[in-house]
């Protein structure tokens, strides 16, 4: 069984994004970049399925500028067997990404696609669901547990009221939540080995997908800043302030 894991290069999760002074976008010059944390969880899950003998091949794919090959090499170092880079310098939206991924799914025919539930830059939480729709597959979003058995995958989902378990027919699409697993780190020998694993580059505009923008980014601004607070001496003063100053209790 083949698994496809789409990944994204994003701002490192420890870095606080800053808005450009002309309010055109977020400033990413000289900002540390990394694999989106939910994508790391997706790669980890695919590799564990391979180690368990359920999966025979793990393919990592990314869509973006040349620099994103760094994250593909990380995926290969973590244990993916091959990588596909759909190269573009355009700023694409989730719908475009899902359509390009659908082309990869058509070609590679993976029984399972595992993606992160959201990327920590655009915070959209869309791509996996869109890909599932475009490929007419069932979807198991926000997964905290996967069980593959007999052409079915059972997915436990983190939902607002607790946990929901659904069963999907394979082929299917799964998106990861934080509790699915704890990703490993790549070892030095594996990082060296990854350099020799296959990485195929495909131009995004060669796949016959309409990449015309569907939204326009009008502006990007700083969020409203909270005005500074005070440090109270003790519980008595805290309660007093909450009663008489803030009037919230």
């Amino acid at each position: 069984m083949k698994v496809l894991v789409p990944i994204k290069r994003v701002i490192d999760y420890n870095v606080k994004a800053r808005v450009k002074s002309d309010n055109s976008d977020v400033d990413l010059t000289n900002v540390k970049m990394a694999m989106n944390p939910f994508c790391e969880i997706a790669i980890e899950e695919a590799i564990r399925l391979k180690e368990a003998g359920t999966v025979t091949e793990v393919i990592a794919v990314t869509i973006g500028a040349k620099a994103a090959q760094e994250q593909l090499r990380t995926a290969l170092a973590l244990g993916a067997d091959k990588a596909i880079h759909i190269e573009t310098d355009e700023k694409l939206e989730s719908l475009h990404i899902a359509k390009l991924l659908a082309k990869v799914v058509e070609k590679e025919a993976p029984e399972l696609v595992i993606l992160g539930k959201q990327s920590i830059d655009s915070d959209n939480n869309q791509t996996g669901q869109m890909l599932a729709a475009l490929t007419n597959r069932g979807q198991g979003t926000f997964a905290s547990k996967l069980d593959i058995d007999n052409a079915m995958v059972k997915v436990t989902r983190e939902v607002d009221g607790g946990l929901q378990t659904v069963e999907l027919k394979l082929p299917a699409v799964v998106t990861t939540d934080l509790r699915l697993n704890e990703p490993r780190y790549a070892s030095l020998p594996n990082i060296m080995k990854a350099k020799r694993k296959p990485l195929e580059v495909i131009a995004a505009d060669s796949l016959g997908v309409d990449l015309a923008p569907r939204t326009q980014l009008v502006s990007v601004s700083e969020p409203v800043k909270r005005s500074g607070g005070i440090i109270v001496d003790d519980v008595a003063q805290l309660v007093e302030k909450l009663k008489t100053e803030a009037k919230v209790i």
Partner: protein
């Protein structure tokens, strides 16, 4: 130009997010129909009918919608989509699940988690864990939108609108419901509570969360948690507040033993008043707190309970 809102509920209990989402939809300026889908939902449909601004309630009452599976839900919404310029749902785990599927099937973008309506095609939404606010204009003829309910008010009531039943059914067999583990709690829902008290890694274990109970009882508060507390198994996943958990904006948010990582702040920094209790005076949580108490939580939580 009409707007279709999809109501959100948990096992037949209408979520307050629905009313807040209708509040956002009103700002689009169109007539609003609301789709209620599920099993045995007639009472809830009547509740929706009396939310101000609703023109017609469409009811799809069928066992196949019982668990609001994304695949069936998306197909049902798609079958109705022709009549509407805007399709809107709450950015709950239900809305987040089926709405992008609807958008893709309609071949349009989804505008996720809007916090403000600028005009019928332009919206504000947080990006980068809320460290930036994007103003986004949709270029598609149909807009598919999810709403961050905490940024909108509850709608007032009205004389009941028309309720009409839908009988078309969509069951595509791609997925089946297996089971649900519902978190039982007597407390108000995190996203609806006026007061939220959250514990972090500093709580040390699940048993110690009991220290928050007495305070929550006295304040009528919901109890939340940081990711670290959930990952460590102290409390259930649905208590996580943050960028990738629940977004809350209560009148009072009390963070206990939480450092204040950007991902946590993303879920609570729009609270009206923030209190932080942390033994580390340099913890970033103090930068957003209106009232900070630098102290050992095990010492001050019992004191706080007594003082209330």
């Amino acid at each position: 130009m009409k707007t279709l809102v999809i109501a959100d509920h948990d096992n037949g209990i209408l979520k307050p997010e629905t009313s807040k989402t209708i509040n956002a939809a009103v700002k689009l300026g169109n007539a609003i129909d609301v789709l209620v889908l599920g099993e045995n939902i007639s009472e809830m449909a009547n509740q929706v009918a009396s939310i101000n601004g609703v023109a017609t309630v469409l009811v799809a009452d069928n066992a196949i919608y019982g668990h609001q599976l994304a695949e069936n839900t998306a197909d049902l919404v798609l079958s109705l989509a022709g009549d509407y310029s805007h399709i809107v749902a709450s950015a709950t785990t239900t809305g987040k699940n089926f709405m992008p599927r609807v958008a893709a099937l309609l071949d349009v973008a989804q505008i996720s988690e809007i916090i403000d309506v600028v005009d019928a095609e332009t919206f504000k939404r947080p990006i980068y864990a809320g460290n930036a606010i994007a103003t986004v204009k949709s270029l598609d003829s149909k807009k598919v939108i999810t709403v961050r309910a905490s940024s909108f008010d509850l709608q007032t009531e009205q004389a009941a609108a028309t309720v009409s039943a839908l009988d078309s059914t969509f069951d595509n067999h791609l997925s089946q419901f297996v089971s649900v583990e519902q978190t039982e709690s007597e407390r108000p829902e995190l996203t609806a509570a006026e007061v939220v008290i959250s514990g972090g890694r500093g709580m040390q274990n699940g048993e110690n969360f009991a220290l928050l109970n007495g305070i929550a009882d006295k304040l009528g508060a919901a109890i939340g948690a940081s990711r670290a507390a959930v990952d460590a198994g102290f409390v259930a996943n649905d208590m996580q507040v943050g960028q990738t958990g629940k977004i809350v904006a209560p009148n009072l948010y009390i963070a206990v033993g939480i450092s204040g990582a950007i991902q946590h702040l993303a879920g609570m920094k729009d609270s009206k008043v923030i209190v932080a209790i942390n033994k580390d005076p340099d913890a970033p949580i103090f930068q957003v707190a209106d009232y900070g108490l630098v102290a050992d939580l095990f010492e001050v939580l019992p004191q706080l309970e007594n003082a209330l």
